[in-house]
């Protein structure tokens, strides 16, 4: 993974009484989420990547060295091709919305500009208030402007520090589709700090889990969400994500077929065109297990699977399944586990009661 398509971070240092020793490598594509409880050092890592904070270590992004203390290299923040979105929208209050957007744009030589102001403004739906004053915008609108400003710096790495955390629920719901849209349309690798499992499941491609100043695990999202050590902490809220492709629409029953490596999900009809990639979220408590393929059931989505791992937690068990290469989680009672003889290697059928479509 090392090389021109990865982000390599090695940082050690102390801020006051807080010590950080973080080391991870992540692909420089899609959205890489840094997750963990508050105060675990996520933001510190992000600020170090931006160069706003300096700890000891090295940073390499897509083959470019941004920091290497062994060789005495440290690029100041303005020399790094980044865009930064803060938790608070941080718009310049003395500039109009357009002025804020142009601020980022102006710092990029015109030959290196990869995005036009109008396009980005349209993409984030801020074209309607370009001449307004930041103070007159709602929280959600301000954050969209802040994201647009970061994009207009033509970043080769976008850094987002809990961009939704300061927003109310309605504004969050307003912004999430824009973020998903960005992921789908622009190919800008993003480091995304979050402590919301919901955002992460919707947006992330790669997960770096951080706890108390060090990296606990790092890997692709589907794998990471179903890792037992991490899933266990979520208990009944554990979930898996499935990346699937729209393969057809059934006009008669108004259903849409979504194919993934382990079979085909049928969901209530959506407007997605055939061929579009979508993400599904399956909660562990919405998946149940049977030994045979049940026929007399109202559940549509039933797939053959193999038990991978079982973790017992009081009266409940969390079971990781391999569904044709895609990991899924099922939450069952310990009694059911014993009755069905659930153990690693056992072939079962998984019945999925409900799925949520992410985009």
């Amino acid at each position: 993974m090392s090389g021109p398509s990865s982000i390599e971070v090695r940082l050690t240092g102390a801020l006051g009484t807080f010590a950080l020793a973080a080391e991870f490598e992540a692909p420089a594509t899609g959205i890489v989420a840094l997750v963990g409880p508050s105060g675990c050092g996520k933001t510190t890592i992000l600020r170090c990547v931006a160069g706003l904070l300096r700890l000891h270590g090295s940073l390499r992004v897509r083959g470019e060295v941004w920091q290497d203390d062994a060789r005495g290299i440290f690029l100041p923040p303005h020399a790094r091709p980044i865009g930064y979105v803060f938790q608070e929208p941080s718009l310049f209050p003395h500039l109009s919305v357009r002025g804020n957007l142009e601020f980022g744009l102006r710092r990029v030589p015109s030959a290196e500009r990869r995005l036009r102001l109008e396009d980005v403004a349209d993409l984030l739906g801020v074209s309607g208030f370009l001449d307004r004053d930041p103070a007159s915008l709602s929280g959600g609108q301000r954050q969209r402007v802040a994201i647009a400003r970061a994009l207009l710096a033509s970043p080769r790495l976008l850094l987002m520090d809990e961009p939704l955390a300061s927003l109310d629920r309605a504004s969050k719901r307003e912004i999430l589709p824009y973020l998903e849209h960005l992921r789908a349309t622009l190919d800008i690798p993003t480091l995304y700090v979050s402590h919301s499992p919901d955002e992460v499941a919707r947006l992330a491609d790669h997960l770096v889990s951080i706890g108390a100043g060090s990296v606990r695990a790092s890997g692709p999202i589907a794998e990471m969400l179903t890792r037992m050590d991490l899933a266990r902490e979520q208990g009944a809220d554990a979930e898996a994500v499935v990346d699937a492709t729209v393969t057809g629409h059934d006009a008669e029953f108004e259903l849409t077929a979504l194919a993934f490596s382990g079979g085909t999900f049928l969901v209530t009809r959506t407007a997605h065109p055939i061929g579009q990639r979508v993400r599904l979220r399956v909660l562990a408590r919405d998946a149940s297990l049977t030994l045979e393929h049940q026929t007399g059931t109202s559940i549509l989505n039933i797939f053959p699977a193999v038990v991978d791992e079982v973790v017992t937690d009081g009266a409940s068990q969390t079971v990781r399944l391999d569904v044709g290469g895609t990991p899924l989680l099922a939450r069952i009672t310990r009694k059911s586990g014993a009755t069905l003889g659930i153990e690693p290697g056992r072939p079962v059928h998984v019945q999925v009661k409900a799925v949520a479509l992410v985009d």
Binding site: A50, G51, L52, P76, P77, H78, R80, P81, I82, G83, Y84, F86, Q87, E88, S90, F92, P93, H94, F103, G104, R107, V108, A135, A146, R149, A150, A153, L159, S166
Partner: protein, 574 residues
């Protein structure tokens, strides 16, 4: 936001209502409003009236004609504007630079340079001007003597010039800019600068395009404050301008009273002119401050970044240290040395040192003893009465729901727009004729001081009162105590820190007041600043130095005690 809203709601709930017309609270408020009107509005009305009547008492604009067409007078107006703008511009630039260096760079000795903020506690521009005469007068100024000794020809600097006046005023008013801009720089949301850096703007671009525009309101507002203070200045232009016949409005107004017969109408017309200049400046300042403030408290309590200056930090320190040298070290060393020497020359011999000037000033000079007694009386009694009045005004306007409490607010900030000379002129006209003749008594000085410093007193008490939760007073009311009992045994004790801090500021201000006193004193009713001014007119610089040094020492002791008692950190007024 939610927190602010709740606090606000709490405040409204905590307000005391008057339940009937028989409630004495209504009458107390009425009396306070009436008192403020008599103190503040009556002299202004008299002043205006005098300015539009000719010698026969008929309505006429002849005084204004004379004020604006006579070369002596209009050059005074022009000089006032030049001095005020020049001092404001220099103070704004230097103060902003100094604030930036202290707050936002890694300059060594930042704590030391912050001493700049307390310069106005130590000295007034008037004392500074006297010290600078010793340093920069063309003939005997120490710096000019040194220049000649080093082989220079002619004087190095001439402090008796427009430039000299501007320089000295800027030097001593600059701390207002330093404090306001420093505050704005400290409370700025640090993520704005980080956002700029992350957008690819270099440190210099960020400083010029983000930091500077964000603190611009603070720079403009404090610059305008300096403009107003400089326009109102009497002491500096009086001692630095008079020898070279440079007139400004304040000195011209005082001059009209020294003619025989006094030319009240012309003086009043010049007063109204100065009043308008000050009001326009303050009105602009309030508008800027009332506009959107760009500086808010940042999200995660992060501190703004400090610029790493490398080797340049020593250069910066040298620049900042030279301010302290010019404003504090040189002048005060000069005053001290001058006060204990027999001759004012650059060559020092031990036999020239003496305490004779202190002895003479304290024991032989007839005015000093009255002046010390009068200044102490005005300082102690005046500051006490003003603070009690201000506590009452704050209580009435913040903690009651009486109709007319907003009028109290407006009345209590109005004197900010009164140049001391203008207020004194108005009071003189108002209280020189029967039925109540106050001129010739110390009470006219008393009224002038109280009136002029009501805004500063109210600011001290209101700032403390808004931090005290109204529930404390509500509990008292709920326990059956009346409002007077509540005010006396709950509000006043809780306000004590604010009152002590305000009292100390007023005490120091009252023992230094010159620009109103110069018109209002009468023989036997001199105050300290007037005594110093009198010595200046006799050319007794060593004696001035002794008296000025004592004045500075007393101020420092009082402020030291107040700071020790309350942790005071407000900039003073004068």
């Amino acid at each position: 936001m939610a927190g602010a809203a709740t606090a606000d709601a709490g405040r409204v709930q905590g307000r005391i209502r008057a339940y009937s017309l028989r409630d004495p609270l209504l009458y107390v408020q009425g009396a306070v409003i009436l008192l403020l009107c008599v103190l503040i509005l009556y002299p202004v009305w008299i002043l205006f009236d005098v300015s539009v009547r000719d010698l026969d008492g008929e309505l006429s604009l002849r005084w204004y004609m004379e004020a604006y067409t006579n070369a002596r007078n209009y050059s005074a107006i022009a000089n006032t504007v030049i001095v005020a703008s020049g001092a404001a511009a220099i103070a704004a630039v230097a103060g902003t630079f100094l604030a930036w260096a202290v707050v936002r760079t890694d300059m060594p000795g930042r704590g030391l340079v912050e001493v700049a903020a307390i310069v106005p506690f130590i000295s007034t521009p008037f004392i500074g001007a006297l010290a600078w005469i010793l340093l920069g007068s063309p003939q005997v100024g120490l710096l000019n003597q040194l220049w000649g000794f080093l082989g220079g020809t002619g004087p190095l600097i001439d402090i008796y010039s427009l430039g000299g006046i501007i320089f000295v005023i800027a030097l001593y008013e600059m701390p207002f800019v330093f404090v306001m801009v420093g505050g704005a720089l400290r409370s700025m949301d640090p993520t704005l600068e980080e956002a700029s850096l992350a957008s690819g703007a270099s440190l210099l671009q960020t400083t010029l395009r983000v930091t500077l525009p964000l603190v611009l309101p603070a720079i403009l507002a404090s610059g305008l404050l300096v403009f107003v203070l400089a326009a109102e200045q009497f002491g500096v232009p009086a001692v630095l301008g008079t020898p070279s016949r440079i007139r400004v409005l304040t000195t011209s107004i005082v001059e009209t009273q020294n003619f025989y017969p006094p030319r009240y109408g012309l003086g009043a017309a010049l007063c109204v002119t100065l009043f308008v200049i000050a009001l326009v400046g303050l009105w602009l300042q309030r508008r800027i401050l009332a506009g959107r403030s760009f500086t808010t408290v940042g999200g995660k309590g992060a501190h703004p970044r400090r610029v790493q200056l490398g080797r340049w930090r020593w250069v910066l320190l040298a620049v900042c240290a030279s301010y302290l040298l010019l404003a504090v070290v040189l002048p005060f060393a000069t005053i001290f040395v001058s006060s204990i020497r027999t001759h004012w020359t650059a060559d020092f011999r031990w036999e020239q040192f003496t305490v004779e000037h202190y002895r003479w000033v304290l024991l032989d000079y007839p005015i000093t003893q009255h002046a010390i007694v009068n200044s102490l009386f005005l300082g102690v009694v005046g500051a006490t009465v003003t603070m009690i009045l201000c506590a009452l005004v704050s209580f009435l306007s913040l903690r009651t729901r009486l109709p007319g409490r907003h009028l109290l607010d407006y009345l209590s900030i109005l004197p900010l727009g009164f140049p001391g000379v203008v207020l004194a002129f108005g009071l003189l006209q108002a209280w020189i004729t029967p039925p109540l003749v106050l001129y010739g008594t110390i009470w006219i000085l008393f009224i002038a001081y109280v009136t002029r410093y009501i805004p500063i007193g109210v600011r001290a008490t209101s700032a403390t009162l808004v931090q005290i939760h109204p529930e404390l007073e509500e509990s008292s009311l709920a326990s059956g105590a009346g409002w007077l009992r509540t005010f006396r045994s709950i509000t006043l004790p809780l306000l004590k820190p604010g009152i002590v801090a305000g009292w100390a500021l007023l005490f120091v201000a009252f023992t230094r007041e010159l620009s109103a006193s110069i018109l209002l004193y009468s023989p036997g009713k001199e105050v300290l600043s007037v005594a110093i001014y009198d010595l200046y007119q006799n050319g007794q610089f060593r004696e001035i130095s002794a008296l000025a040094f004592m004045q500075i020492a007393v101020s420092l002791v009082i402020l030291g005690i107040a700071k020790w008692v309350t942790g005071l950190d407000r900039a003073p007024g004068r």
